[in-house]
């Protein structure tokens, strides 16, 4: 292992060691528990710095690569981790389950995600996926006193087991057909030999597997139940970070698949179909929800549909809208789940939207932040959510997919309706009764404010971000 390899693995090393440190501290110094969030935040920040220090290029025997895209997405993943950690402190204290395991598991999730983003080889992707998934299952069931939580975790686990099987099976088939597990070599094998049936079946299984992780229709069924039952601050992480990494892997897979000669167009059509199904079904199903966490779950499905629009036709520019969209989605969705975690007392009960009635006046800061997040999710300027949509639709129109873009905007109109429902419940309905036991702690408020302010600030002033993404970074 060369120093270069060590440097490129530094973020992961920091995160893993940070997790171990927290576990040890939990065992030997339980009185320090209140400081765990601070330590974990520090570890995340160091990892983020380390990410920016990785030189572009491949490392670890060409198993990992670093490009502008992976760097940006790594930062998005770490941002999600950061926000989720901030949001968790209040929740864990209120539920009296504050211990080092939670933070350690979250940091290890981030480790898996960073590896998955940068892996140029399918077995590495699989190993990263397993690292990630095991931690996610444990976290989903973390609040074990809550029955819904356990149910959610079991569902997620069963689905996740299928995903692992799909990915492994797909991997084997692709290896069998092309003789390699490296994306680049698979690509060149497909280019010379065309697309054998086994390879296309294998790729299909792999796409399905990562479709599960991204919760696109028809692989979405786990999302609403899991989101509803799992701890809200953790959902702030679960609903965004794995999608960022999965999107990158999906991009690599589709890029490889597009090389397979004439069948490239078929893959385009398939992605277009997944996108339309996700946009339409996600938005329509979200419309029917009365529970805000389920609503956000379905809306997340729709958002992944918009995201896929940029991946229907792959070209050099396709990744920029994807990255901006994922950044926007991370800020606004994590922000929304953070506030949901603060405003609802008992994780067991339903998170009915109606319970938010009039809370916008009683809790002005979370109210305004939630409003900003909702407007951003709805794609109203000048928020980052609008910019993300704008770039995705611009990419789609540029690829000649005007019809898909029209479907997308019509679906997002449906979206506006249910996002507005949250806003008017906050401000235009009178408060039913004062809710008790809310824990609006400083950490959670900070997360909400960072998310909302970030959504607005980057939405209004995206100049730097976009020019860095487009110009400074060599996208392979």
């Amino acid at each position: 292992m060369s120093p270069n390899d060590l440097q490129s693995l530094f973020p992961e090393v920091v995160l893993v060691l940070g997790g171990i440190l927290l576990l040890l501290l939990d065992a030997f110094g339980p009185s320090l528990r209140r400081g765990f969030t601070g330590i974990a935040l520090l570890v995340t920040a160091v990892a983020a710095w380390a990410v920016t220090e990785i030189p572009y290029g491949t490392s670890c025997n060409h198993l990992l690569e670093s490009t502008g895209a992976t760097r940006a997405l790594s930062l998005v993943v770490l941002l999600a981790t950061f926000l989720s950690l901030l949001a968790s402190q209040g929740y864990l204290q209120r539920e009296r389950i504050l211990s080092g395991e939670y933070h350690a598991l979250l940091l290890w999730c981030a480790t898996g995600l960073l590896l998955m983003l940068r892996a140029t080889e399918l077995l590495t992707v699989f190993l990263a996926l397993e690292t990630l998934s095991l931690c996610l299952y444990a976290l989903a069931a973390y609040n074990r006193r809550v029955r819904v939580g356990t149910e959610a975790a079991i569902k997620y686990f069963l689905m996740g087991a299928f995903v692992s099987a799909f990915v492994l099976y797909g991997l084997a088939l692709v290896y069998g057909a092309t003789g390699s597990t490296r994306f680049a070599e698979i690509g060149s094998a497909l280019r010379t030999s065309g697309m054998p049936v086994t390879a296309s079946l294998g790729l299909l299984l792999l796409v399905a597997g990562f479709g599960f992780k991204m919760s696109v229709v028809p692989f979405h069924a786990w999302a609403p139940d899991t989101y509803q039952g799992a701890p809200s601050p953790f959902v702030a992480f679960l609903s965004v970070a794995p999608k960022a990494s999965a999107a990158m892997v999906l991009f690599r897979l589709l890029e490889v698949a597009a090389l397979g000669g004439a069948s490239g167009a078929k893959w385009s059509k398939m992605v277009a179909l997944l996108s339309v199904l996700s946009m339409v079904a996600g938005n329509l199903l979200a419309l029917a929800q009365r529970d805000i966490k389920r609503m956000l779950a379905y809306s997340g499905i729709a958002h992944m549909g918009y995201l896929l629009l940029a991946l229907v036709v792959l070209n050099r520019e396709s990744l920029t809208p994807v990255i901006v969209y994922l950044l926007a989605y991370t800020l606004m969705n994590a922000g929304a789940f953070t506030i949901v975690g603060m405003l609802y007392t008992k994780p067991d009960e339903q998170h009915a939207i109606a319970d938010l009635a009039g809370l916008g006046y009683r809790y002005p800061v979370p109210g305004v932040c939630l409003t900003v997040c909702m407007l951003s999710l709805g794609g109203i300027p000048p928020t980052l959510g609008f910019l993300g949509k704008y770039l995705v639709f611009l990419d789609a129109v540029g690829d000649g997919l005007v019809g898909l873009a029209v479907v997308g905007v019509l679906a997002s109109l449906v979206g506006v309706f249910y996002y507005l429902r949250v806003v008017y419940t906050l401000y235009m309905k009178s408060e039913a009764q004062a809710s008790e036991g809310l824990l609006l702690d400083g950490w959670g408020r900070a997360a909400a404010v960072i998310a909302a302010a970030g959504t607005l600030a980057v939405g209004i002033w995206p100049t730097r971000l976009l020019s860095w993404l487009l110009a400074a970074s060599p996208f392979r």
């Binding site: 920029t320 006046y361 407007l375 109203i380 300027p381 000048p382 609008f386 704008y390 770039l391 639709f393 611009l394 129109v397 540029g398 005007v402 873009a405 029209v406 905007v409 019509l410 997002s412 109109l413 506006v416 309706f417 507005l420 806003v423 008017y424 401000y427 235009m428 309905k429 995206p462 100049t463 976009l466 020019s467 993404l469 487009l470 110009a471």
Partner: protein, 532 residues
Amino acid sequence: MDDFLQLALGNTLTRLVFFPAAACLPLLFFRREAVKAVKVYTFVAGLVELALGLLYVAGHPANPGAFGPSLTAAGAGDGAWSWIPSYGIRYQLAADGISMPLVLLTVLLLPLVVLGSFRGIERHWRAFGAALLLLTTGLLGALLAADLFLFYVFWEVMLVPMYLLIGIWGGERRIYAAVKFFLFTMAGSLLMLIAVLWMGFTFHRLTGAWSFAYADLLRLNLPLHTEILLFGAFALTFAIKVPMFPLHTWLPDAHVEAPTGGSVILAGVMLKLGTYGFLRFALPLFPRASLAARPLLVACALVGILYGALVAWAQVDMKKLVAYSSIAHLGFVMLGLLAADTLAWQGALLQMINHGLSTGALFLLVGMLYDRRHTKQFAEFGGLAKVMPVFAFFLVFSTLASVGLPLLNGFAGEFLILLGSFRALGWPAAVATFGVVLAAIYLLKMLQQTIWGSLTKDENRGLADLSAREVWTLVPLCVFMLWIGVAPNTFLAPSRPALNHLLADYKARLVEAPPGAPEVRPLVERLAEVGR
């Protein structure tokens, strides 16, 4: 950084547009109980904004035709800042004779609306002030944006405060009305977004440079069928906002439920964004398609004039009557715009201002009555002239202005529209003339049932007449109604060069043969046209 300071603090459009938004921030530091201080603060902010508007006009005397093709040459706007350079999106504001009158109307209405809401708005004054100020920023930005991306951003930005105004301070069915308003407007504008994207992308494909600038997109020369699709998206957006006949159903709901201040801004300025959109974007960007769609749009405008008037006649609620009268009045404006005639366009622009003044005043008056009696039904009134003579005076004055009595503003606008559209369109103008008669009928019916006749209701006997504050809310509007009526040319002259320039450009493009595939006109030719 110096550029930034110059933009923010100099006598610029940027300062004009963003001052209200910046003025929202101090509202955060007022205590919840300090309602009076908040009211005064918001009013003063409105006055300062009005002063900034006047200062801008005084500082930039004449910019004929400064918006479109000649923008680069005349440089009447705030410098084109690269906002999102990777996609050629520029922050660029510019004013000319078409947008400036509407800007001035907006900044005039802002302090009056604040003053007029002192009594009607009882809850959450800080939020109310902030919503009004942010709304002003959105409206001004949309009127002044010279880049279509920027225009779209402002176009959507103004939805949120208006949604809150209707939804928080509105009547009983406020949530329904607010959501309906939001979704209707959004439905159109999302399709416009796709059209804008397509144009920006096509410009990129043809020239290799990204741009969403109005001046650049005007250079696109498109085949007819493409133009028709794009024009459809733009026209739908603006027609919903105007609102034109089959798409008007959100307006009565929004008006009836909105608080007085919201109604005044909605009718006074926001609807004009629709007609402004036609004049600025939909017609000049797609001349051939707009000519092809003209019969349909003229028909919609005519139906709007007559149907709006007839429905207004049938109303038993004062506010609904005024709301439907807006549909009829804006039908006239649309007719004038579609005529594409120099007189009709001047009349249409003047009528946009007129409608803002007279309908604004009418909504304020209805609101003042509602503050006293908490009803807007005709059946509850009658003979009010006996107890509220000052109120009666202002109501009669504003109504007559709205009817189009000579020597008041409505006459000048409607007359020019009818004259111009008769010249260009023929019989549709004759049909529209019936709208003038109907307007007299339903508006005079309103007068008859509220202020004339005998006092039939005991509740009305003790009504207090207008307070000094209320009088001063109305006086500026009435002064302008009379002024425009007596000396319309004072108000027409500043806009004439810009309108004629735009019209000449529009007509010049109409005679060109449509290309087989999208193409971009060379820049040289455009500059030559400007020099012409």
